[in-house]
Subunit: 458 residues, 2 copies
């Protein structure tokens, strides 16, 4: 792939030199997906100047690849007539997304300038929630009749697909009331005898989406069945549109981002979407991040209360307190590993609820083995450093117990959440760190108080 | 989608009742992707019994959807002749994957039983590293000549695609030495006039993969350009095969899993692959998890050394030590949020190196605002609890500083790693937790020692 930085530098130089002809050649030489990587790195005025030099077909493609904020920025800055022309050339779903990003009055203005048919089709899409199949689909579908033959379908494609700029993955078969009755892959069509009847070659078992299906479900269906496109129907099985795999890929990426953010205690929904956490109003970002920090605060106050019960011990031997970060740090670390493995495994399907005991047992064994290993190192180092054999042994034993307990908690938590029908990813990071602080410190201080102090007293 | 648990229960019941006819009907009623979700939850003998009842076409599809261990298990348990027959019906890339999972002598045995042509094509694939384009591609590509017309290509498709069971997304145009010279989408083909020459309608700017390209690069190319399939060429531009989007989807999922594991300090490569961490030899899992735990150990010993410098302070006022988990916990938590946002943003392209200062400034502001808010709460609670105003203020100030520093370190680390050409995800969890323990405790103890002890002395 391209070295973006070099291209950006070259383009900015040409802009600075005002070398329009070379700039135009340079820009139109890139694939539109490359331009979409370059554009965010240009300044606002450079961006508009460059955009105006790109051929129309390529600039439509470029718009499709750009993130929503840049789409809106560019369309707002270029000539209004050109902007509506470009919008009208976007696929319906992308046009609806762009218009959805605008303020209501701006979007109404554009909708009026757009061709009648396109405008009403896009208006239809804007009615649906943008995270449902209705909001994601494109309404342009090539439909045929079950009584047609292969030759008839091929000539329908030739006429319709060309004119309407349709995506073409499957041909959908509908009855006279637009009920979805069958599906036909292009492969199927191209390899069947020319006079064969469609109803004899079409697939009647159809994997389909409902217009209200949410995007996490849609992502799951695409990941599972691996279709190029899926038809979308309403409650009466009327065909309303298709969702294509490139939209699904974007959804899968967004869902994965949500899963990762959720794991670290960021509640994406409170900010709007994941873009809003990285840019825009800073208070949206704070809103999304505070709740789990607050729960951590409560949890850590519990840890402090636990430690507070042992002030007499700390008083007797201050070095004991000094070792707390070591125990909490390593416990938190191995616990995070365990919970990360379980959460991701459940999400990809590599782990199922059925295998929970096997997985928990495995993590316990891993925790025990690693714990004993690290406990041994810590014991030896501590003995050498503090010249105190008993203390070394107790820190080592506490470390081993702590790491094993952390691995077990890390392995169990996602399964428990899943059984309670809570997303296993929820705040897995903060939860594990806090519970290890509470439990790990309790184990450590108990050991110290009941054994070490006794040994020292005797 | 399906409720897997219900289906599994029903199927196990039919197996137990030995109700072969109903079982057969039940099984063949599912989509093969559904069967692939059901099969892992059956017992080994149930699995074989069920597999043998599934129609041949569906059982080939089912094999394609199943994870490697189950493919190998099933093929080993069913009749050997049937097994080689099924393998020979798999797409080449899947067949190569299955054979790659077997022991060398077993795989050689199967290869001998397979049809000559298929066997030599699969042998060819087995030569490539399985994480490169050569190992992932399927060698079956529909190629045509630039001098043919649309009609000629359509009849070539009719003959070849049917016979060879090819995936059909694009038609590739090659010269007489099999050099890739153009590409043609089916859509293009179906909407062009029937006597048009291929060289006039083919796309000559071709996005392609090199046979040695690694899967992380392949995933990036697919995510960026969103093609259905990409051609694979060798160093002389000879067309060797295609990688299809469903393979790419699997790679993207695997790469994301790697990114998530890497963030929590698990080095996937040391175990083999991500499957090996969840199952198989437990020592592979331990190998992958230990190195970063060890680095954490070293880091936490540094934190302990820092705290150890302040034993006199702890001695004077043991409650100071008791509050350490609170500071480390919340600092670690907000730092993890920041680093998670940056790492994921860099990975999806929502953040670029160019925007680093903006992002770091934003995270600093978030850290400061959240820090002040939590510092205030902590100060008030601590004052009320410990009846010590000065101590409350110092804990509160330390908390605010600590959270802001944590957010800044979390935001900066990924950019620094990226500049050093190190994967920003590397151990982001352990790194942030450990550095907060070291720096946060130093800030806290310094504040306490220089102000609190002085106040108390005065």
């Amino acid at each position: 792939m391209l070295n973006i930085q070099n291209s950006v530098d070259r383009i900015r130089e040409l802009v600075a030199e005002n070398n329009i002809e070379s700039l135009k050649t340079e820009l139109n030489g890139y694939h539109s997906a490359d331009l979409a990587d370059i554009f965010p790195d240009l300044g606002t005025s450079e961006r508009i100047e460059c955009f105006n030099l790109i051929d129309e077909d390529k600039s439509v493609e470029l718009l499709e690849y750009l993130p929503p904020q840049l789409q809106v920025e560019i369309l707002g800055d270029i000539d209004a007539v050109k902007a509506s022309e470009l919008i009208s050339k976007l696929p319906h779903d992308d046009a609806a997304d762009v218009l959805g990003e605008l303020e209501d009055d701006e979007s109404a203005e554009y909708l009026e300038k757009l061709p009648q048919k396109f405008s009403s089709e896009v208006r239809e899409l804007l009615k649906y929630d943008e995270s449902t199949a209705g909001g994601i689909m494109t309404p342009l579908v090539l439909t045929v009749n079950a009584d047609m033959d292969v030759e008839g379908v091929l000539s329908t494609i030739r006429i319709k697909a060309e004119k309407e700029n349709m995506d073409l993955y499957y041909v959908y078969v509908v009855d006279s009331q637009n009920h979805l009755v069958g599906v036909l892959s292009l492969r199927n069509l191209l390899t069947s005898p020319i006079h064969k009847n469609i109803k004899d070659i079409m697939q009647k078992d159809i994997v389909k989406l409902h217009i209200d299906d949410y995007q996490d479900y849609i992502a799951d269906v695409f990941m599972k069945y691996q279709f190029n496109a899926l038809p979308v129907v309403d409650m009466y099985n009327h065909l309303k549109g298709i969702v294509t795999w490139d939209d699904a890929q974007d959804i899968v990426e967004e869902e994965t981002t949500d899963e990762i953010y959720t794991s670290s205690g960021i509640i994406v929904d409170l900010a709007g979407d994941d873009e809003d956490i990285l840019s825009g109003n800073i208070f949206n970002s704070i809103k999304a991040r505070t709740p789990w920090l607050f729960i951590t605060l409560v949890g850590e106050f519990i840890a402090v209360t636990v430690a507070n019960h042992f002030t007499a011990t700390v008083d007797a031997l201050p070095i004991i307190a000094v070792f707390m970060p070591l125990l909490a740090g390593l416990g938190g670390n191995i616990g995070t590993q365990s919970i990360t493995l379980m959460v991701r495994g459940l999400s990809t399907g590599q782990i199922t609820l059925r295998s929970q005991f096997k997985q928990i047992a495995r993590e316990s064994a891993v925790g025990l083995l690693i714990g004993v290993f690290f406990g041994f190192i810590v014991a030896v180092v501590t003995m050498g450093w503090q010249h105190n054999i008993a203390f070394g042994i107790i820190v080592g034993v506490a470390m081993a117990l702590n790491m094993m307990i952390a691995a077990i908690i890390g392995a169990m938590t996602p399964f428990i959440l899943k059984r309670l029908k809570i997303d296993p990813a929820v705040a897995s990071g903060p939860v594990i760190a806090t519970s290890i602080d509470v439990i790990g410190l309790f184990v450590y201080f108990s050991l110290v108080t009941f054994y070490l102090i006794k040994i020292m007293a005797s």
